[in-house]
Symmetry: C2
Subunit: 219 residues, 2 copies
């Protein structure tokens, strides 16, 4: 005898495909949904469908958006001289939460992973280079970053901040991009690695500690 | 500047209402869904809606079902002499997994919790008593359980197994039910409490150990 009525079993099967869900947690969530008022459940289902149907990628930076270009590329007040390169759209949320960055973004859509068949052509790298070249074409010989150049050539990109994860793939992708971007006369930086706030030296792994030493700053 | 496009923000808000989801896990799940193929996402949304729309409670035992009565109440091969009383429909799944119980079920729909305004009238207790009386009316004087009475009065309920959680509310509800059911001449039992399989005496709390002592069995 099967243990669940078919509609629940089907719902559990679908929920099990979500990350972090097994048979038990999916079953629990399914029964939770069945206990909720019908209008709550329908609102959830509609939110899922609406998000999936209405969102597409920004034609400039590949961030998720419900319009032709994303809110950052459209915005007036952002600093067009900086582009922060991230692996995925959700990374932008975290950078924005710092309230410490006013530049633009570029979403790679993944990281280089040759063993899994992800090469440069699978990532949004060409479009990044185009963004840099289109604006920098007038001064390809300028190899030095010009800090504080508030006037001059308007929104020419002066710095590309590589904000990929400090993992093997993230590092390899950052190195690959740096090699492509530097010859265009654009400053290339990478997020600092070190001990997280509130972390303890005792528990830091030696590679992190090594990065923290290398990146030490004058007080 | 808001950090998420509106459709994602709305989806995150809806996902945050699910048990165990906070801002971070809901955001992660939302972006995961947006990365999936459209047909997978639509199948999930439809499974949610279909389950919610097609399921109702069994008119006999209040289990979830997509028909008038649930699969257990409909089934031919189940032992109608036993009713296992559980708090919620999902508990039936766990009892069934033991493959050790062939009787029927009754779903209370909660536990007595006077402080939260849940009294006997909010639970499916009247319908349980009706199930017992309807069949037991012909022999209300029989106060002794008749083990192994395979013939006789057909499906007269002989045993009510109280399978509520061994918590304060579960215990109180079980005691309350026992007081109501015993006078009907039905044997009332409760799931054994003790040390779980693979558990260690060293880590068992003293109340559990006390129950394990009280419930000790001859070898």
């Amino acid at each position: 005898m099967k243990e669940l009525p078919e509609p629940i079993a089907r719902l559990v099967d679908e929920l099990k495909r979500l990350p972090g869900f097994g048979q038990k947690s999916a079953t629990r969530l399914a029964f939770h949904l069945l206990r909720q008022p019908a209008e709550d459940v329908e609102r959830l289902a509609e939110a899922i469908l609406a998000a999936k149907r209405s969102l597409r990628t920004c034609s400039i930076c590949h961030n998720l958006t419900d319009q032709e270009t994303c809110e950052f590329c459209r915005a007036e007040g952002r600093n067009g001289k900086q582009i922060c390169v991230v692996e995925a759209a959700q990374d932008i949320v975290n950078v924005e939460k710092t309230r410490h960055y006013q530049g633009l973004y570029h979403v790679l859509g993944g990281l280089l992973a040759p063993l899994e068949g992800v090469g440069p052509e699978q990532l949004n790298i060409q479009s990044l280079l185009k963004r840099l070249c289109a604006q920098g074409a007038s001064a390809p010989e300028a190899h030095q970053p010009r800090a504080g150049a508030s006037g001059g050539e308007g929104n020419r990109v002066e710095e590309v901040i590589l904000a990929t994860n400090p993992t093997a793939e993230g590092d390899a992708t950052a190195l690959y991009l740096a090699k492509l971007v530097k010859p265009l006369g654009v400053r290339v930086t990478r997020l600092a690695m070190g001990i997280p706030l509130g972390g303890e030296l005792e528990y830091a792994d030696s590679v992190t500690l090594q990065h923290a030493l290398d990146g030490r700053r004058e007080l």
